[in-house]
């Protein structure tokens, strides 16, 4: 079981299709997730992110294609498989009369028979309450928790069984910036200390960039991009934008070799250069270009159109 990061495929999706009536929501989705990775599934609303993740969780039947999660087809995943997978659900008003401590203790007990020497299950409830930061609310009725506190409890419930693979669908929807940062810390901690593979959906680009080892962009029912934030940006354009001012006048120049250009600039003008700024294409630029192209149905021209926009 001791695999290092990057080895071993935890999730494998081939030719995944989902059809509702005559509408193909997923049209040949393909990707892999490796052991220990944090993957973000990014895409516009209605792109099929939730559908994809629910198929992987075993909560929804697919129309066609091959899916393997921890070596098992989730459509046939048994309870032993279920014990290895964590799902963070968006709670709403369930268990209103319970306290977080009682609920976590109760749900944790279901994992006791699945404890192994390598992975003792469940998580210690008190430690978990500390990790997600709801010590103060641990004895309050869940009904009285704020939205952010509830979501932390949701995360705690999702990881109570010390999952090898964790799914999170829009985990930070409705978070304030502080709660969002704290949530990001939890994800990093899980990934680093618990060796948990994590797949999450979001439509927040900043979040995708901060959390993910790798980003998958889902648009038009397919994975249209797959790589780190940096790789994706470079796929759209290799040019960086250099801005500066000289004698109160502003200049902009796009170049694939920003370092060389700036060196040249200083060699020529030295101290006259002010307000220097070098900007690579951001994930946002990439994302918008890719999604737009797929929505208008010309995926092959995505890169080119982006160049035009920039000049």
């Amino acid at each position: 079981m001791s695999m290092t990061r990057g080895e071993g495929v935890v999730v494998e999706v081939n030719e995944l299709r989902m059809r509702y009536g005559s509408n193909d929501v997923l049209d040949g989705v393909e990707f892999q997730v490796h052991h220990g990775e944090v993957i973000t599934l990014l895409g516009p609303n209605g792109a099929g992110k939730t559908t994809t993740i629910e198929i992987l969780e075993g909560f929804r039947m697919r129309s066609a294609g091959r899916v393997s999660v921890l070596g098992v087809d989730p459509a046939e995943g048994n309870e032993d498989w279920r014990a290895r997978v964590g799902v963070v659900l968006q709670s709403w008003r369930d268990h209103a009369r319970w306290t977080p401590r009682a609920l976590l203790t109760h749900l944790g007990r279901y994992y006791e028979p699945y404890s192994t020497p390598e992975r003792s299950r469940p998580y210690d409830v008190e430690e978990l309450i500390r990790v997600v930061g709801i010590e103060e609310q641990a004895e309050q009725k869940i009904r009285t928790l704020s939205g952010g506190q509830r979501r932390r409890l949701d995360v705690a419930v999702g990881i109570i069984g010390r999952p090898e693979l964790l799914f999170l669908d829009e985990p930070t929807a409705g978070f304030d910036p502080q709660a969002r940062r704290e949530f990001h810390d939890i994800v990093h901690r899980l990934s680093d200390l618990e060796d948990t593979t994590i797949l999450l959906t979001t439509h927040d680009l900043d979040e995708a960039e901060k959390l993910a080892d790798r980003i998958l962009i889902l648009a038009g029912g397919r994975i249209v991009a797959d790589g780190s934030a940096d790789q994706l940006a470079r796929r759209v354009t290799r040019d960086a934008q250099v801005r500066w001012s000289r004698n109160g006048e502003s200049f902009v120049h796009a170049t694939p070799d920003a370092t060389g250009f700036v060196r040249e600039l200083f060699a020529q003008h030295g101290d006259e250069i002010a307000d220097l700024e070098v900007r690579r294409a951001t994930l946002e630029d990439t994302y918008i270009a890719m999604v737009q192209q797929h929505e208008t149905g010309h995926p092959e021209t995505a890169g080119a159109a982006f160049e035009e926009v920039k000049t």
Partner: protein, 284 residues
Amino acid sequence: MNPKLHAIRTGLDRGWTEFKLSLKSPQDQGFYLFTSAGVLLYLSFNRNNEVEGTSLFYPTVALPSILGALLVFGLVIGPAYSLAMEREDGTLLRAKAVPRGIVGHVTGHILLNTLSLIPSFLVILIPGAFLFDNMMQNGWQGWVTVAWVVLLGLLATLPIGMVIGSLVPGVQKVGTWGMLPILVLLGISGIFAPMQGLWGWVQTVSQVFPMYWVGLGMRSAFLPEAAAVLEIGESWRTLETVAVLGVWAVAGALVAPIVMRRMARRQSGSQVEAAKEQALQWVR
């Protein structure tokens, strides 16, 4: 440890926790007080009516029947409402997301609904003992009969509630598919008055369903042998009671797991999300 047994044990703990929470909840306390007050008031108004053909007063005859009706009502409507609600609010999805969580969840439901009979009976039996004379006419043998009628009634009706809760499209529909039929059965099952006054076919219909038989069984437990003259065939028809309730119990044990498994399979986050959206619209 056997994982399935472990899940059942965890579910029993869940049922016990839910029961304690229910006793502490003002909403449930209100419900118990309301039914208690309603039933006792109704019986008190009729306390001096002698039942024709016997030397018994109306409350003595009606109280066992009402207990039977409360049992059926509680065990059908209770789980129907809570299951329909739990499908919408994500409780069931949570159970589904943990290993053998559904087994535990259902176990918890069964224990909770069984235990809930205790307060709903006590709030009527205890004040009833002070208000009306000679409630229990058959001594300890009567209580033994109460025990098996309750147990059989439980097995016969609880699965019905679970099936309704699994099949209704939403919480609002429990009224149509659960409450309405139960109220109709309440009217035609000889709970408030002997049903021989009704048309023959109505009597036949009501004798298909458990409510009549639970009521009859309870009367046989509380009332003297002589009161059997009020019944169809002038007998307590104990064998028939066991047979009809037994058939319902077996049918329930066969059908309910299939229906619930199918319902649980279809639970997903987007379903809960859709229910939430809809519920929020109701609020607006």
